[in-house]
């Protein structure tokens, strides 16, 4: 009996060391694979930035950023397109931020739990999956034609806003839910109403997270072409837009137009890369603002 059990133990010992070796190897392989994949993703990001910068930087000058296009896009700058993208973004934020925030507050703080609310949540999430060209067609049908806003900053901004909405609602909900329940309890225990508590405790604590979400989502849609294709954008305007009902040049559409229309592709391609570089810088600096806000929020909670 004694011997047998000893033998068994010995077998187990051998088995164990063997398997440890196997585990070490598979662990090493797994680790390498993960590093490789991460590296590949980084290479893509790096090369996008690299090529756009190398090709775009040639045409960038003070004139390029501040002047209007001249001589059929061959000379001058793209300032109206930069301004146009800025206005479109501004309209989309002013529309999507209050609406998205109100939705998020309702869904997290007030809505009763149940089937209907789950369907609403699901619908909002599905809105995020609608292809951008469909948003464009919707904006054309509703804002441009039905509401009679025409091809304009207003129509394009609203279309972009609707596209940013699901993302804004989702991130705002997360930010509101991340506010510790103990803050709500403390406020209510002092005789605050539910609305007071939301207004004075929950929202201030959630604000950095909410703003991060708004900025990231608006930054994302600001670079979209399809939604503004039929609702706002035009290839060429003589100067800057003078009202919210003007049609505008916008950077993403301008790139598209430079690459597909016109008679001097060799010059136009260079200008397109210049536009791409500006657009990239704008979107990246918007993300940077979001990151800084997030850091500040972490600091506030002492994390």
């Amino acid at each position: 009996m004694q011997d047998k059990s000893l033998l068994q133990n010995k077998d187990m010992l051998v088995y164990k060391t063997h398997s440890m070796k196997g585990k070490d190897i598979s662990q090493g392989l797994g680790f390498m694979l993960l590093v490789l994949c991460t590296g590949t993703a980084l290479v893509f990001l790096g090369s996008i930035i690299y090529f756009i910068t190398i090709r775009g930087i040639r045409v960038i000058s003070w004139e390029f950023i501040t002047d209007v296009p001249r001589m059929a896009m061959m000379k001058g700058g793209v300032a109206p397109a930069i301004i146009g993208t800025f206005y479109l973004t501004l309209v989309s934020i002013s529309f999507a931020f209050p609406l998205g925030l109100a939705c998020a507050i309702y869904l997290t703080e007030y809505s009763p739990k149940g089937t209907i609310i789950n369907i609403i949540r699901l619908s909002i999430n599905n809105l995020a999956g609608v292809p951008s060209i469909v948003f464009g067609l919707f904006g054309f049908a509703v804002f441009v034609n039905a509401f009679g806003f025409g091809v304009s900053i207003l129509s394009g901004g609203l279309t972009l806003g609707i596209m940013a909405l699901p993302g804004i609602i989702a991130t705002s909900q997360d930010a509101i839910l991340a506010v510790p329940q103990s803050y709500r309890e403390a406020s209510l225990a002092l005789g605050a109403t539910h609305w007071d508590t939301i207004k004075k405790v929950v929202l201030p604590a959630a604000l950095p997270g909410i703003l991060t979400g708004v900025i990231l989502n608006v930054g994302r849609v600001a670079g979209e072409t399809a939604p503004i294709l039929f609702t706002a954008a035009t290839f060429y305007t003589r100067g800057f837009p003078h009202s919210i009902f003007s049609e505008v040049m916008a950077l993403p559409y301008h790139i598209y137009a430079l690459m597909t229309e016109g008679t001097h592709p060799e010059v136009q391609t260079q200008i397109a890369y210049g536009c791409a570089l500006i657009l990239l810088c704008l979107v990246l600096s918007v993300s940077a603002i979001a990151i800084i806000l997030r850091q500040r929020q972490r600091k506030m909670y002492g994390q």
Binding site: Y183, E185, A189, L190, G191, D196, K200, M300, Y301, G302
Partner: protein, 253 residues
């Protein structure tokens, strides 16, 4: 004697969906006295104290039967203004939970939501409340700092000051020292003894020595039932029930 009863619980039963957590609890809480509620974890002591300012209203699927009378009026009647009730019955929680705002804003919060706009009055009340909570000396030069930068014990006294600022009649302490070190705990205990001159105090604690040190009355809860309730001096020296004696002797819990 009856006029001294601040809160009276009569045959209170409480359920979290299907679980019966409080069983037929009847308890009198006397004005300007400290009433301690002791018992092992899960006996329902926190649940009970949270019924006194209706904090359990926030829990979905919770159900309450029986009556809780504050100055003779049922706080669960449909005519009760819950917001007003919570102003009258303040609460200090287990974990210090100051808002991520400045010390000053934390104390002023309750005044502002109650519609007070007079800045001089608010400044004065903030100072008084901090003094009453025995924290003024330590924070008088840090009023504009984020309250989360203070130590745990200081944060808890900020929470007490915040509670005092709205001039409640009753203060509920839900294990206020559970996350504090012995020195901070002593400060809070001294403060509770000081506060009972002006307020009726109910304190939940799993620390029997603490109950003995600060309370005038003690209720011993076990598995959702009041096993024994009476003057602290009596409960801790000559308990009537065997179970109380065993719990106090540390044989279970």
């Amino acid at each position: 004697m009856d006029s001294d009863i601040k809160i009276r619980a009569e045959n209170v039963n409480f359920y979290y969906s299907e679980t019966h957590v409080l069983k037929d609890i009847s308890l009198d809480i006397y004005a300007n006295q400290v009433t301690a509620i002791i018992g092992p974890s899960g006996c329902g002591k926190s649940t009970f104290i949270r019924l006194l300012n209706r904090m359990n209203d926030l829990i979905p699927g919770a159900r309450m039967q029986g009556e809780i009378l504050l100055d003779g009026k049922d706080i669960y009647s449909p005519r009760t203004d819950v917001v007003e009730l919570r102003r009258r019955v303040g609460m200090v929680f287990q974990k210090p939970n100051p808002f991520p705002k400045t010390v000053f804003e934390n104390i002023a919060y309750g005044l502002i939501i109650n519609g007070i706009r007079d800045r001089a009055f608010i400044r004065d009340r903030v100072k008084q409340s901090l003094k009453k909570a025995a924290i003024y000396e330590e924070v008088q030069n840090r009023l504009n700092e984020n309250a989360l930068m203070l130590s745990g014990g200081q944060q808890q006294r900020i929470c007490i000051a915040r509670c005092i600022a709205v001039e409640p009649e009753v203060i509920l302490f839900d294990e206020p020292c559970a996350s504090l070190d012995p020195i901070s705990t002593r400060k809070i205990e001294e403060l509770i003894l000081e506060l009972k001159k002006d307020y009726t105090i109910v304190i939940v604690t799993h620390n029997m020595q603490q109950a003995a040190r600060v309370s005038d009355f003690t209720a011993f809860l076990y598995l959702g039932e009041v096993i024994e309730f009476g003057p602290t001096s009596k409960i801790f020296t000559v308990p009537e029930k065997k179970m109380t004696e065993q719990y106090l002797a540390g044989r279970f819990g």
